[in-house]
Structure formats: C-alpha cells, structure tokens
Symmetry: C2
Subunit: 460 residues, 2 copies
C-alpha cells in the first residue's frame, strides 16, 4: 500500500480534503480521506500540492503533435487542407508515432492520464500502450462520396480487428466517422451500425464550423465547391449538423460529440434526449474562430460534457487546466455572468465528467475507493500560485497543468518530482523538431501554391 499525502485532495465527487491522503493498493484506490484516518503503508509526501484524479482529455489528436505552430492564421478550410496535405506529403508513420509520443510526454507532464484520441494513422494506439496511459483510440474513417462507403468500411473493419487484438485493460479502440464534410450519410449509417454490432464507442466531430453548418443546412459554403469538383453531390442534408446525426440514427448510438459549437436550443434538446455526450474544446474553438460553445446550456439540459484539447495544430498545447481556465472565461463572456461556469465545475469537466463522457467513469475521473488509481498532483510552491485561498480556483485560474509533480495511472507512477518514469525511446524531441524542419521546407516549396489534398480523399 502506498499513501500519497497532500495539502489538499480533490476527490471531485466529494468536498475538498485539507491535509488529505489517497492510499493505493496495487492498481486500485483503497482509501480517500484525512491523513489521520489513513490505513498504514509506505508514505509519499507531496507537500503543498493539490492532488486530483488524473485529468481526462476528452478529445485530442496525438499524431498531429509535429504540427504545433505549423498552421497559424488560417481560415478553417485552408487550415484543414494544409494539415491534410502536409501530413501526407511530409510525415511518415514513424514521424507520426514520434509526434504521438511527444504529445503523451506533454500530456503526462500536464497531469493527463486518460486520452480520448481521434486518429487516422493508428500510431496513438502504439504510443498509449508504450507510455502506460489510459485511453480510447477512435479510429477515423473518411468518405464524403457515398460510392466510397464500402471501401471505407472494409478498411475500417480491418484496422479495428488489428487494434482489438492488441487492446488492454487500459487502451481500447473506438471508431470515428470524421465530420459531415468528409463523411457521406451512407458512411455515417454504416459506421454507426458497425459500432453497435461490435460494441465500440463512437466519437465524431460535429457542429464545429460555420462552413460545416452551411454545407449540411444549405448545401453551400466553403466546403461545397471542393466536394462538387470531385463529383460528389452536395445538397441540403438536414436543418443542422446535430439534426443530421439525429435523422440518420447516429445520435441513438450515444456518440461522443466533439465541439458542438453551433448548436441551437433544439440541437441541445436532441443531444440531451439521446443521451449523447460532448467533448468541449474551448481553446481550439476560439483559435479557429468558430465561437463559444453553449456549455452552460448543455449542462443545464443534463448533457455530460468533458474537456478536450483538440490537436496542438489548433491549440497549440495540451493542458487541461488551461482548457478549464479558458472554458470559464469563455462562458463568462458568452453569458455576461461570472458564475456561468465556475472553477469547481470546470474541474469536473476535466475529470469526472470527461470520464463519463467517454464511458470510463467506472474506472477513472474521481478519487473513490475501488476505482483505478489514476492520480495527478500539482505543487503550489511557486510565486505564481500563491496565496491559495481555496484549491479549485488556484488550479484553474492561477496554475496550469504543466506543473504536475506526480502522475499515476492504475497505480503505476508515470511521473514523479517532474521526472518521467516512462521508458520512452530516446531522441523523440529531436526527431519531431527535424520533422518540423521538413514541413517548413515543404511549405516553402509547395505549401502556398501546390494542389491541396482534401480530407477524405480516396487515395489516403
């Protein structure tokens, strides 16, 4: 038994504990409470730190970590076209794997223990196994042309079979039909049926951009000409992206809905009625200028909302406490009310609600006896964190996740005193920086003028 002692312990499903202790027995939590009542064991003194459940990143793209800072100042369609094109033209599978490793190193240092990762290449699965974190890798599937549907599904089935054979207690596959501008109605229906038949979790990017809403609602907007030029029929498909999922029956599979920025009251009602969940990505949504998601409205409707960093291609960081901070600021602005989302609620989004949103709340997201021991500790010793009046605002508004001093997943220590305990391969940082150099060279030669590859092209 290991006893982790900290000045503050935040179980998330119970009030904060001053001078608290979490006792870990193997992979599980055996005690959460005041230090004075803890059962015996070996002591780990975390000192003036805030001990929380390991943070849950409800949406990321680990394979894109080499794109941090590569796609600045671009409107959404240009952003995604340059992303797709550069990824195919420059980055090898090894590059993508190193990128995912660097992303996990960043995430672990920021106290993130669970990753809901949406991935095209599949490397996030390897990296998560390698680094010992918990996660779901939602295998992406593309195909805006209904004629691609069978080929896309065959490819998906093969990938899922391979992933399932390597799944562990910690790392499991899911599937992700990418977005309305890269997925036909046929493919949405087929993917949802496949998910149901195989008991796989489903995640999809939805209601993110104005361009997406224009495409779905009016058969128009920034994405329409490119699709038409590929011979794909473009017509109004539904009142809104969320309504499209509803009418196709996809919403009945209770998917994780990523973004949900452009959702009207009836969309929120539909999501709540279906029991679907949401991954809220406030920094990415603001940086790409999509807007502020109706988080307060979704919470009031009873929808479970987690927090996601999205990829560092649009963030440019993975720091769930910073995400919680920006979530509070944005909801304050949206509602003209400083109480619209408070620090405690934002921390719940980053922990227990995120775990619920991706179906892992039985294992992680809170400090409760019997749950897996997924822990993160954040020291408050720095001038920038002091004084601490109450721990939740200190974590969300004054500190940031990169301060983690301890990270534990299912009882295993991944980081302690700022030192990674993961047997990561050497040279990852240098290789990712080198890949960035090749991307810059490609950009200088081809990026501005060359033919851009739309996402979901059949040659992928």
């Amino acid at each position: 038994m290991i006893r982790y002692h900290a000045r503050w312990v935040l179980p998330m499903v119970a009030p904060a504990i001053d001078d608290g202790t979490v006792v870990v027995d193997g992979a599980r939590i055996a005690y959460v409470g005041p230090r004075s009542g803890a059962p015996p064991g070996d002591d780990v003194e975390l000192g003036d730190a805030i001990l929380t459940p390991g943070l849950v990143n409800a949406h990321c793209h680990l394979e894109l970590t080499a794109m941090r800072g590569f796609l600045e100042g671009l409107h959404f369609r240009e952003w995604i076209l340059r992303l797709t094109t550069a990824k195919r033209a420059v980055l090898t599978r090894d590059d993508l794997l190193d990128a995912a490793r660097l992303g996990l190193e960043e995430g672990i240092r920021a106290g993130v223990t669970t990753y809901a990762d949406t991935c095209d290449s599949g490397v996030a699965f390897d990296a998560m196994l390698e680094y010992g974190v918990r996660g779901i890798m939602y295998q992406e599937v593309f195909g805006p042309d209904p004629g691609q549907c069978e080929a896309s599904m065959a490819e998906l089935a093969a990938k899922i079979a391979a992933l399932r054979s390597r799944a562990t207690e910690l790392v499991r596959p899911g599937i992700s039909p990418h977005a309305p501008y890269t997925v036909s109605d046929r493919l949405y229906v087929a993917a949802a049926e496949f998910a149901r038949a195989n008991g796989l979790p489903l995640a999809l990017h939805i209601a993110e951009s104005q361009a997406e809403s224009d495409l779905v609602g009016a058969g128009d907007g920034a994405f329409a000409p490119g699709l038409r030029s590929r011979g794909i029929e473009v017509r109004p498909r539904a009142r809104s992206p969320v309504a499209l999922l509803q009418q196709l029956g996809v919403l009945d599979e209770r998917p994780l809905l990523i973004h949900v920025v452009r959702a009207a009251a009836d969309d929120v009602t539909a999501i709540a009625a279906a029991g679907a969940t949401v991954a809220h990505c406030p920094v990415s949504n603001a940086k790409l200028a999509h807007g502020i998601a109706p988080v307060r409205e979704m919470l009031d409707a009873g929808i479970t909302v987690g927090l996601g960093s999205d990829s560092v291609a649009s963030n440019n960081r993975m720091d769930l406490l910073a995400e919680a901070h920006v979530a509070v600021l944005m909801q304050g602005v949206r509602h003209g009310d400083p109480t619209a989302l408070d620090a405690k609620a934002a921390l719940r989004l980053a922990t227990i609600d995120g775990a619920r949103a991706i179906g892992l709340a039985g294992r992680t997201g809170s400090l409760e006896v019997g749950k897996d021991a997924d822990l993160a500790a954040f020291p408050v010793a720095g001038a920038a964190a002091l004084p601490v009046h109450t721990p939740e605002p200190a974590l969300v508004h004054a500190m940031h996740g990169r301060d983690a001093s301890l990270v534990v997943v299912a009882g295993r220590v991944l980081l302690h005193d700022g030192v990674l305990r993961v047997a990561a391969p050497p040279g990852v940082r240098d290789r990712v920086q080198s890949a960035a150099g090749r991307m810059q060279a490609w950009l200088a030669e081809h990026g501005q003028a060359g033919a851009l590859v739309p996402p979901g092209s059949p040659t992928r």
Copy 2:
C-alpha cells in the same frame, strides 16, 4: 559588454533573427543582429530560447496580490465591495507591501520588466524600487462626492510630492482617478489639471462594466443605489464613459485608458482623435464577464494598445504571454476570424505597443541599439513547446511567461537560469499566505453579512 546569444531573437520592430545576439553595454543595448556580426564581449549562451524585449504590463495592481483566488464567482459590484472591505479590514501596509513584492516576483519570473501599476497604498513604488524593475505607479485618487474633491486633491498632492522625491530613472509616479463610480466630474477635472500642471502621466479605469455604463449613461444600474444612499447625486452624466472623459476634457490629456470593453464606434473614434492609449486586460475582462474589448477596431483606428494583467484578484495571474494568448482567442471569437489578431500582433501589444501606451517607448519595449537593455528569454526545451515552426506562435500559444530563463532591466540581471538575483527580503511567500489565512477568517466571520465599504468612501 555582454553578448546574449539565443536561437531566436525578436526585436519586435524588425523581423525575427535566427541565431541572434543582443549585446549590452552597461545599461544600454549596443547591438542587435546575427551572432556572426556581434562585437566582442563576454558570452551568455541562452541556447534554444526566444529572446525578446522585457514584457510590458500596461495595467496591474501589485498591492492586491494577496487577493489571488479570494474573490471568486462574484458579480462586479460585489467583487469590488468585498475587495475594498477586506483590504481595509484585514490588510496592513506591511501586508500590502509583501503582496506587491510577491507580485513582482511572479512578474519577473514571467519576463515582465515594466509595470504600469495603479495603486492606492503606495507600496508598489517601494516594491518596484526594491526589486529593480521599471515602472510607473499611478497614485489612485477617489471621491464620488463632489464635496470630497478638495480633500481628495490635497491628499493626492501630498502623496505625489513624496513619490516624486523618491523617483528614479526606472520608477516614476503618475496619477489615477479611479473610475466613474468613484470619481466625481469635479475630481476628474481637477486631477487632469493637476496631471497637466505637474507633467504626470494619467491612467484611468474606463468603460469596463455594464454597471459603469448604466451609471454614466442613465444614472442607474448596480452602482446607483449605494451612491444615492451616501447622499451623492446620481444623474446621467454622458452618453458613455468615454464620452464623459471627452466632455470633461480629460481625454485631451491623452490618458492611458484601462479596459475600454464597452466602447461603441464613436467612442473608438474619440479615443483615436484625442491620441489617448488603451490598456487591454482580456483575462480580467472575461473572468468578471464584462465582455471582449474592441481591440481590432481600436488598432484599425490607429489607437496604441498595450496588454495588462489587471490585479490577480480578477485574473488570477500575472503572465503577459498568457494575456497575449487569451487576447488572440477573444478577438477570434469576437470577429469570427482567426486572423483578427495574430501572435505577432499580440506580442507587439505585450512589448513595444505597451511601452508606447505608457509613454516609455523611448527606453523600452523593443530591442534597438541605444534603448535600455530590458530583456526576457524564454527557453523552448520542454515537450510542451516543441516543435517550434516559428517563434511568435510558440511564445504566445504554446508557452507561457512563467518559463522565463533570463530577465534583465537596464542591463541589470534580475533572473538567470530561473534564479532570482534580486535581494528580496526573506519570508514574503509565507507572510502573504498568512495574510490570506486572516482574510479567510475575516470572510468566515464578517464577509458575507457585514457592512461592505464602497470604494471611494471618505474614511479611507
């Protein structure tokens, strides 16, 4: 001569320099350019770091650092009443001085070399002298009752005389009539005349909240009943807070206007026509739910805009790179355009434009030969910063100011390799945390129910 070498140098008034060098001769910059062309001197290798001008905080309240996290989830009027009441009831001058010291330690660690501080007690002046930073302390003056005007001005004149006798090349006084809900029209006019007669810079909180706009425009809103209960006449004073300053002639003094969230097109035009400047505080404005300032509009109108942290009572941090980050996110949301404010422009707000806004651009805010050597370096070695494609987005979107490895003011090293070189008195952190404990005890006993002291009460 000292030669500071870094992987990237950002002069701010010229393009970024790869493998650049800044040479410092005494207090001044003697060279800015490629390493290969630098004159001889002693070498300081900053390695994989981004070397920038020292950051300029265009608005802070150092004396309030003990209030970090003390005023959460409050609407603006309750926020400011609790702030004022707790400050008077609990914090001694020594407490406020320690708070200012802790604030400067935080700021220096975040690369901030220049502080435009708005202060009631005067402790910020002492602390800035002690820590060796550059700054203007705008002495606050209050008085919503026109009958208080002479007494307020007499007190102000005495304080300014004392401050001027202690002014240095680095630290100078200014004056700050607080805000329309604490300053009568008479006091505004008297303070502006005093500033002009004494050659003092002027800074004022303006157009921050809806409550303020309601008071000025309609003689109504959250602040009106409290003023009336004190026998102070409340009536519509002007179309808007900015228009009030215009009609009183205060705008002609080209003050630093703090906040300017609620400014219509004619307000922006008036500010530009007068040549007044603006301190933009995006985190504070969002956290207090005031809204998003029209920064793009002000820049387009030719207004000089700097970035301020505001106090940590409403932020809860002093980190100008984080402020630049949130400024970009908020302008993206306000305009639905990811190019509304880019990382380069945001960095200018945090450096040269901030220096211009407070009238110190002849000395600081950019890396130029002949200017004072105010420098900050931010290492990019951490997983969270890599890869770096271009330095400006890395600084603004992936890193944060707390990463500073070197801070220099007028040639003097205040921080190197993360170690403060300032002869700060011992025990500051413990004493500020202890003051926070007394504030919590006061809050438990009096805070929710007791009589709250309005800001600008004559007993102060």
